[in-house]
């Protein structure tokens, strides 16, 4: 799937760029975005190190397994392939909590830690497991209780009006994504054997 989307986007960009006369912009975008990608990754190092360090302390002190136990009834349903007491469950829950509280900076390191732990359970290392896709879908549909700081800055006092609508919309998108994952994972064309 990624092969087609990736190539498709670039081919469409090339054709559209020629057609709209924006071929120079396309060139610039390609070069600048490759730099941006590295800057984003390098910029993550410090924050990753900070949260992974704190996480390790939380893990060693048993905090993570306590949290994982509390939310077990929900997580075992969402992630049936992950053993309920596996450390991945703790990271998944912490990542979701960070997202709900709007702590984007903390959510990414915790999410990547969870991915690493889910990968330990994966038999085919280049292919996503059902749990990985579920975890990703929950992350991309963004369960969030705190309105992003950027929106508050832009909207001013009006930002409080969109509090309820944002929660309702994000609930709908998360539920839809979870149902879609559960539905698709049983389909043959998305099976691990046919994976693309």
């Amino acid at each position: 799937m990624l092969n087609y989307i990736w190539l498709g986007m670039m081919v469409i960009s090339l054709i559209a760029g020629i057609f709209t006369g924006r071929i120079d912009e396309v060139t610039d975008a390609a070069i600048n975005m490759s730099k941006t990608a590295v800057e984003i990754s390098i910029g993550l190092i410090g924050i990753m190190a900070l949260w992974l360090g704190i996480m390790k302390i939380a893990e060693k002190s048993g905090l993570i397994s306590i949290i994982a136990k509390v939310v077990k009834p929900i997580t075992v349903r969402l992630f049936p392939d992950v053993p309920p007491d596996h450390p991945a469950m703790g990271s998944i829950v912490l990542n979701m909590s960070a997202n709900i509280l709007g702590l984007g900076n903390a959510a990414t390191p915790l999410g990547l830690k969870a991915m690493e732990q889910l990968q330990e359970l994966n038999e085919q290392k280049d292919t996503a497991t059902n749990s990985m896709v579920m975890f990703l879908a929950i992350n991309t549909s963004s369960v969030q209780l705190i309105i992003p700081a950027a929106v508050v800055a832009l909207m001013g006092a009006t930002a409080s009006q969109i509090f309820l609508t944002t929660i309702l919309a994000t609930l709908c998108s998360t539920i839809a994504a979870v149902i879609a994952v559960k539905f698709f994972e049983k389909m043959k064309r998305f099976s691990v054997e046919n994976a693309s």
């Binding site: 670039m10 360090g53 704190i54 390790k56 048993g62 905090l63 996503a128 309105i147």
Partner: protein
């Protein structure tokens, strides 16, 4: 009433990070006798490798997205979709943001800024836009970073499922804003 609750929530959120950074080591050291400094450094080492590991995946995805945005392909797509969406009650003003949201965080923030500058933060368009922005994530970026960090290249149903979530979220944003804010 709602204003004060939201204000105190956003205010409270400011304390969470420092409380976690201090509280977790404090609990570990005081109650469980964990050697906090040593353990922190041991965990922090992974930060470097993970951040470096995602570079090739992020370059691939961001370059393709950047080209797509710069080429004007998105505008062509908008011209095709606008009439149909207008017909079902989806405001065409909010369509660019709905399409941009899964593709680019900075791009969609730019579009939201345009919406607010053009129509005012009190307009329904701005409120729908802000709701869309707050209720969804940059799907392709998250996919590249999360899957890239462990070297997963076969994403299976992740993209279709993520995009269905985005679509439902965008429709829900329009629906609830029209229902509750007009």
């Amino acid at each position: 009433m709602i204003e004060s609750i939201i204000e105190s929530m956003n205010n409270g959120a400011r304390y969470i990070i420092p409380l976690l950074i201090v509280g977790i080591p404090l609990y570990a050291m005081a109650i469980k006798q964990v050697k906090v400094y040593e353990v922190f450094v041991e965990g922090a080492k992974d930060g470097f490798t993970i951040a470096i590991r995602i570079i090739p995946y992020l370059v691939a995805i961001l370059v393709a997205l950047g080209m797509f945005r710069a080429s004007g392909a998105l505008d062509i797509l908008l011209n095709f979709l606008s009439p149909a969406l207008n017909f079902v009650g989806f405001p065409p003003e909010n369509l660019p943001l709905a399409l941009m949201r899964p593709l680019s965080g900075s791009g969609s923030l730019g579009l939201l800024t345009d919406l607010i500058n053009e129509h005012g933060s009190d307009s329904l368009y701005a409120k729908i836009g802000a709701t869309m922005f707050g209720s969804s994530e940059t799907t392709f970026y998250v996919l590249a970073v999360y899957f890239g960090s462990v070297g997963v290249v076969r994403s299976r149903h992740a993209i279709p499922a993520g995009l269905i979530g985005d679509l439902v979220g965008a429709i829900a944003a329009v629906f609830f804003c029209k229902l509750l804010l007009t």
